[in-house]
Symmetry: C2
Subunit: 133 residues, 2 copies
């Protein structure tokens, strides 16, 4: 496959999402528009997906079923997230023992091609105190 072309739109998206939050494609589209960048919604969807395929962004599915995207600093290692349900901030966590453990329990029951999803959500410190008055 040929490498992706660095268009104005792709650059704008990469620039925007490198601030660490998990947001939906529509939310990123809005921020970009708000920042003055004329960009189409379909392009945002397509570009985020292509970046996700390349491993440059992480995706997560929210409670309401939307897919959330955020920049991912090019780790190839599998990892998980601890995400704030209120502001979208997220930190990466890894669970080395969980990886092995899940594989073990699944194959013990005859399962192959094992995959897993693990997501932790909560309210970060800032949001916790704020919602407390």
């Amino acid at each position: 496959m040929t490498p992706a072309r660095m268009t104005r739109q792709r650059a704008a998206i990469i620039d925007a999402i490198s601030d660490g939050d998990f947001r939906s494609a529509q939310a990123w589209h809005e921020s970009l528009r708000g920042a003055g960048s004329a960009i189409g919604l379909a392009t945002v969807y397509r570009t985020l997906q292509s970046l996700a395929d390349d491993g440059d962004v992480d995706t997560v599915v929210s409670e309401s079923g939307e897919t959330l995207y955020r920049w991912c600093a090019a780790h190839t290692t599998h990892h998980h997230h601890l995400r704030c349900r209120s502001c979208g901030t997220a930190e990466e966590i890894d669970l080395p023992s969980f990886e092995q453990w899940s594989r073990a329990i699944a194959s013990a029951r005859g399962y192959t091609e094992i995959e897993h999803t693990v997501e932790l959500t909560g309210l970060c410190h800032a949001c916790s105190t704020e919602l407390d008055h």
Copy 2:
């Protein structure tokens, strides 16, 4: 709140879903129709949701974003699933240490109101061998 009325449709749904698979609302609707039960799609959605609220069915979100439902034998304890991506069969698993561990790591980083999702998927023994020829 008043307890749910036991209608013909609700009974048919409960009867149908007690066979252990995870399927989408639309899939359950089809099986019910196939079995001769005249029942509306909206009713299937509403009833499955109400059963889920009461803790009588488990829900899981598939890779493609559909919500899958299956009967849950009235445990109040939190648990997780090992589900076959091919046939939908699922078994329950529990991860006592994971529960505590996730709470610990999250609160160590200042998070409160912690929730988590853990789902294991794979190909069950039957499907593995079948897809192998």
